[in-house]
């Protein structure tokens, strides 16, 4: 059952990711992005990272993609159908894709990794639960949390700054 779920989620994730790249329409792309994100969240569940799965759904599907959709509606761009990608760019992209694929396959074929599959964990050995997150984030990782706070602050300020309509500041001096 779990195996089936894994393959189902994997197919879902990859397929919808592919559709994000392939779909002409930005709205469709965003929709498929939601599916991708949900698929990844599902995989998180399989990996026992329930909290991250919830976070992924909340932040990505709930906020990020909605933001995307919002912007797409707002901009109402004509779509990119008119401009076809050039042969060169397609070729380059395919080459890059093949290279990456090759890389992925080659390191998966490495002897060290094949063994790791044995390191199966049937129960949940690491406390990937909320309490453990709390402990870690507010003790060992307190400094990065503080920095992240500043990061969010400047991101917020930046968004307000950039998206304000041209309400000109009074010139002093």
């Amino acid at each position: 059952m779990l195996d089936f779920l894994f393959y189902f989620l994997a197919a879902l994730t990859l397929g919808s990711a592919f559709m994000v790249v392939a779909s002409r329409n930005a709205v469709n792309a965003a929709m498929f992005l939601i599916v991708t994100v949900a698929g990844v969240a599902g995989l998180f569940v399989l990996l026992g990272a329930y909290f991250l799965a919830v976070l992924q759904i909340l932040v990505y599907a709930g906020a990020v993609v909605v933001l995307f959709l919002f912007v797409i509606m707002l901009l109402d761009d004509g779509g990119e159908a008119k401009v076809k990608p050039t042969a060169v760019s397609i070729g380059a992209s395919l080459a890059a894709f093949m290279l990456l694929l090759l890389g992925v396959l080659s390191f998966l074929g490495g002897p060290e990794l094949v063994d790791t599959g044995a390191a199966q964990a049937t129960e949940t050995p690491i406390g990937a639960n909320l309490q453990e997150y709390g402990r870690q984030l507010f003790s060992v990782y307190l400094l990065p949390v503080q920095v992240a706070g500043f990061l969010l602050l400047i991101a917020m300020i930046g968004v307000i700054l950039i998206s304000k309509r041209h309400q000109e500041e009074a010139l002093e001096e």
């Binding site: 976070l55 390191a119 050995p125």
Partner: protein
Amino acid sequence: MTVGLNEFLAISGLLFAIGFTGVLLRRNTLVIYMCLEIMLSAAILALVGFSRFNNTMDGNIFVFFIITVAAAEVAVGLAIIVALFRHRQTIQVEDLNTLKN
């Protein structure tokens, strides 16, 4: 389940590759941005997978930070795209050609 780390890594690698290809291939900046998010998701998936099979918590915590940052990045990025659209009425990459020699 019989599915091991390798399978998760394969998914992650493929996801990364798809995202990367999208960044190179697409012309719509919004879609490019979505592809970047796919790449990030791929990295996250790899981290969570490793974290699970290596039995260490660090990877999970790292993912927490990554999601936080990604959200902030998207907000800033979309703000820039919207602001640019106001001036240019376009979000296609090839129209962004004011900067040149």
